[in-house]
């Protein structure tokens, strides 16, 4: 080490530098962390701070300019408008409904993949679940508008089995179907990962000890699958909560979500401070939700 460290030329410098860094782990760590931390703080955390500041500023109604005076007016205005509360409740309700639906759909599939499918089938299903995730989000949303149209494929298929036709176009039902479809893969993957970690011997032990299938499910499988469901629910819940493109495409004009109102205030009304104030609502809800899910062990199952 010492002999080569004193060697001349660029290789010697490199070697000395390398030895220097090897002895100073703290410095190496700082060099590794500085670029990404700098990026995330400058581009993202600072942007969030600006957003928070903006929500405390106010727009001058005459000039449309943003006045840099601190006030809680935006939040007061937000709270006083009952439509905002209805919209928040509807958005929240949809996020919960979609999360429950996806958990109910994902569990049997994930269980089948882990316990019953052959290795080949399992690999096929795994890629099969992932693939739709990567086909254009916009097109998938738009397709649900076509599917749920009055003379669309859904009513056509229901007609074949003697049901319908139903008026589900531009409704909460249409949005619920589309959202559940959209985020389902995000739920399947963590549930699969959680179930995969349940040793088969646990299930055998349970049945050896006389546990019926239902008891085994409730006492062994469910508690071990719960962190996976919690992890998946972070995606289904938060992605639904913040979406405004799907409500726009599938829900039409009369089914506003928090995101649509924010988008409109930012774009059409040009009242960014008010939009920023309303954006704090999903942030608070998501942070509360993340803390709740952390207690269920979601972060270990991600």
């Amino acid at each position: 080490m010492t002999a080569s460290a004193s060697a001349a030329g660029p290789a010697g410098v490199r070697r000395r530098l390398s030895a220097f860094l090897f002895r100073r782990r703290r410095l190496k760590l700082s060099l590794l962390l500085l670029p990404p931390l700098g990026w995330i703080v400058v581009v993202y955390i600072a942007a969030l701070a600006v957003l928070l500041l903006t929500s405390l500023w106010v727009e001058d109604e005459l000039s449309g300019r943003i006045l840099h005076t601190f006030t809680l007016d935006n939040f007061r205005q937000l709270w006083d408008d009952p439509t905002n509360r209805t919209i928040t409740r509807n958005t929240l309700g949809m996020a919960i409904a979609v999360t429950i639906t996806d958990a109910l759909l994902a569990f049997p599939l994930a269980y089948y993949m882990v316990r019953l499918a052959s290795p080949r089938m399992r690999a096929l299903l795994f890629v099969g679940v992932l693939m739709p995730l990567w086909s254009s989000y916009l097109i998938k949303a738009y397709t649900w508008r076509l599917i749920t149209a009055y003379d669309g494929p859904l009513n056509w298929a229901l007609g074949k089995i003697g049901l319908g036709p139903y008026h589900i176009a531009y409704s909460y039902t249409a949005m619920w179907l589309a959202f559940s479809y959209m985020w389902l893969p995000y739920m399947v993957l963590p549930v699969y990962a959680a179930l995969e970690r349940v040793p088969a011997s646990f299930l055998e032990a349970s049945s050896d000890l006389g546990g019926r299938a239902w008891i085994t499910f409730r006492k062994v499988i469910w508690p071990l699958a719960l962190p996976g469901i919690a992890a998946g629910s972070i995606f289904t819940f938060s992605l639904t909560l913040g979406d405004y493109v799907l409500p726009d495409l599938v829900g039409g004009n009369n089914h506003d979500f928090i995101g649509n109102v924010i988008f409109r205030f930012q774009g059409v009304a040009q009242n960014v401070p008010y939009a920023a104030a309303f954006a704090c609502v999903p942030v608070v809800i998501v942070i509360a939700y993340l803390m709740l899910m952390k207690r269920l062990g979601a972060f270990e199952a991600l």
Partner: protein, 265 residues
């Protein structure tokens, strides 16, 4: 083993769920080949005219090229930054480790509209002109975590003993990195980069806030939806894009197989 009734039930439920995932994609493909201008069901005549129209559409082409540019730049940035975090978090123990990992998850955990509006407020506040670069900055921010996840999973599975052996045998830090560490994480880097690219290529929520006059492909598609009778052409573009994104995702899957987490090796 599960009772027979449970097994049959699970198989049936899984089939239904997989149909739920794939029938809408089938609808997209069928609509793209429909000869009719107005989306209807069932489809009467089939044609490839929308593919020809989309292929010759100058605006769609430019938007596509912009998306590729943004995707390449954003995933390159995310690769460098994400790998740094992965190394720092898996090879070192330090105070505030959990906070650091939470910081990088935040951009995808918080709703896209919040990220978008935050970036827009900052762009306004600093007086920056929105361009493809502002889009890149936004995309790179939420792509970091994808790269990080892939690389950190690989680093946790590779022991440091090879690196130590290399150092003991007289290799310097750079040589060890070049000949030992890099080959062992190479496929994880490629997989992470491909997924980051696919994520950026499809993003619309944040992009709507950060884009200037230059459109990306999702923005072009979103605008088309607002115009009458353009659905057929958009469907053709969609089928083309689905076929195209399927390739990197499939490759990423294959590459990550040996990292574990994905069954059927």
């Amino acid at each position: 083993m599960e009772p027979r009734a449970v097994r049959v039930g699970l198989r049936a439920a899984s089939t239904v769920v997989m149909l739920f995932l794939y029938l809408p994609l089938a609808v997209i493909v069928l609509q793209a080949f429909s000869a009719s201008k107005i989306p209807g069901w069932p489809i009467g005549d089939y044609s490839t005219r929308w593919f020809r129209l989309a292929w010759n559409d100058h605006f769609a082409r430019t938007a596509f090229e912009n998306s590729v540019t943004v995707g390449l730049r954003a995933s390159a940035l995310a690769l460098v930054l994400g790998s740094c975090v992965a190394f720092a978090l898996s090879r070192f123990r330090f105070f505030g480790q959990n906070t650091v990992s939470l910081l990088f998850v935040l951009p995808i955990a918080l709703p896209g509209i919040v990220t978008g509006l935050a970036l827009l407020s900052t762009i306004d506040y600093l007086g920056i002109t929105p361009s493809l670069w502002t889009v890149v900055a936004g995309h790179a921010t939420f792509c970091i975590v994808v790269v990080f996840n892939n690389v950190v999973a690989r680093l946790r599975r590779t022991s440091t003993s090879l690196e130590e052996a290399s150092m003991d045998l007289g290799a310097d830090g750079w040589q060890t990195f070049r000949h030992i560490t890099l080959p062992s994480i190479a496929t994880a880097l490629v997989a992470g980069g491909l997924l980051a690219f696919a994520l950026s290529f499809d993003e619309v929520v944040v992009t709507l806030f950060t884009a200037g006059s230059q459109q990306t492909l999702p923005l072009w598609i979103y605008n088309q939806f607002r115009l009458p009778n353009t659905a057929a052409e958009v469907n053709a573009v969609a089928v083309f894009v689905i076929a195209l994104t399927a390739i990197p995702v499939y490759l990423a899957q294959r590459l990550m197989r040996d990292t574990g987490g994905i069954p059927g090796r």
